[in-house]
Symmetry: C2
Subunit: 231 residues, 2 copies
């Protein structure tokens, strides 16, 4: 089939290697992932940048520009094949790379994260949790065993662990992170608030400051109030 050929060809184009993709584009990719997943769930087979732009409230130009950073996934006069585009976006984002993860800290946040379907949906496999508290060590959370921090080293040496989700107290974050880097972990999802960037050249750190989002909301609420008061 003609279509298949086009897709076969485009497959080679996937251009992340030297890719000079701007941070702004990268930040938008997960959003494409979500919308495309939804379109598939609704049985949608094809979509144009114009239609998708209405759905996502962005310009069609931006969508075409963004996707073209990674290769020509569409077809003139036709638009985009939803399944194919979704597959491509998954590929770009590393869904299905089979990343494995451990969670450091089995407190409220750690336990809530482990129970969240988010990891499964994105192909990240949580294999263990670690904590120092005897109260939780030996228990399981959503079928994930909670091990002692002492066991971290031997565990990581025996199994391939790609990622660590850091939810321990801020005070212990640096020590834990340094150990993780030594053990060859490639990515740290950092919820501790401790600055860990530039820790090591071969470890990526993604910081989550959930409170920042709460503050942005408070700011907007204030701004709205003030706007309303004025009138």
């Amino acid at each position: 089939m003609e279509k298949e050929e086009l897709h076969e060809e485009a497959l080679g184009k996937l251009n992340i290697k030297g890719a000079n993709v701007s941070p702004a584009v990268i930040k938008r990719l997960p959003r494409y992932f979500r919308y495309l997943r939804e379109l598939i769930r609704n049985g949608r087979m094809r979509i144009s940048s114009g239609e998708l732009s209405e759905l996502m409230h962005v310009t069609a130009s931006q969508i075409r520009q963004d996707l073209n950073c990674f290769g020509g996934f569409g077809q003139q006069g036709y638009g985009y094949n939803v399944n194919y585009l979704y597959a491509k976006v998954c590929e770009i984002l590393g869904v299905g790379e089979g990343f494995s993860a451990i969670v450091i800290g089995a407190g409220n946040l750690g336990r809530a994260l482990v129970r969240n379907p988010m990891f499964e949906k994105r192909g990240v496999d949580i294999v263990a949790m670690f904590d120092v508290s005897p109260e939780v060590i030996g228990r399981t959370v959503a079928d994930i065993p909670v091990l002692a921090m002492d066991q971290l080293e031997s565990f990581c040496r025996e199994r391939k662990v790609d990622m660590a989700v850091l939810t321990c107290p801020k005070e212990n974050a640096l020590e834990a992170a340094e150990q993780l880097v030594t053990l060859g972990i490639k990515g740290i999802w950092n919820f501790t608030g401790k600055e860990l960037d530039h820790l090591a050249p071969h470890t990526v750190v993604e910081n989550v400051h959930i409170g920042d989002s709460l503050m942005t909301l408070c700011y907007e609420m204030r701004a709205l109030e003030e706007k309303d008061d004025q009138k």
Copy 2:
């Protein structure tokens, strides 16, 4: 004191009203809040934009530019008074406005959020949780009572509730949000993944897609891998 006078004067300048503050600046404000809080904890009294820029890994120019959106909080030749600047940033961000909040959904996420010191630190007071499950209704989480969704309306009519934290299943998000808007809630912190923006002109929505951050990390991990493989 001379210093006090300056500050008194500057107080009037706080310029959020008509303020045309760009989204980029607003997104950075919580970060200033965090660093200033830390500086105060360390007993720091004054700081220059140059020093702060080293600490935060941004340019001094950006710091001065950002802060000047809201007024002149510094002093030539001296820098910024840490306590005063912190107070100003708090004021801008609505910390200490005394916002009250309810949490819709007492699942894993809702319970983890309620137990997080984040709300207290930012002056947001959680007054109740709501759920439909008889298993949790009547219980308390971190001293916050879990009420039935049936009670939402009467509760909001009796008490001032400014904000709702939406952690219920995606399917119930729209209905809940519409009810909240009707009850006069001014801000929705939306964890459901359901699009709720443009719901109402007098309600602000802040969306949290925690999974997007996970995907960004996966992307960066892949990108790093590929870079390393190349060499």
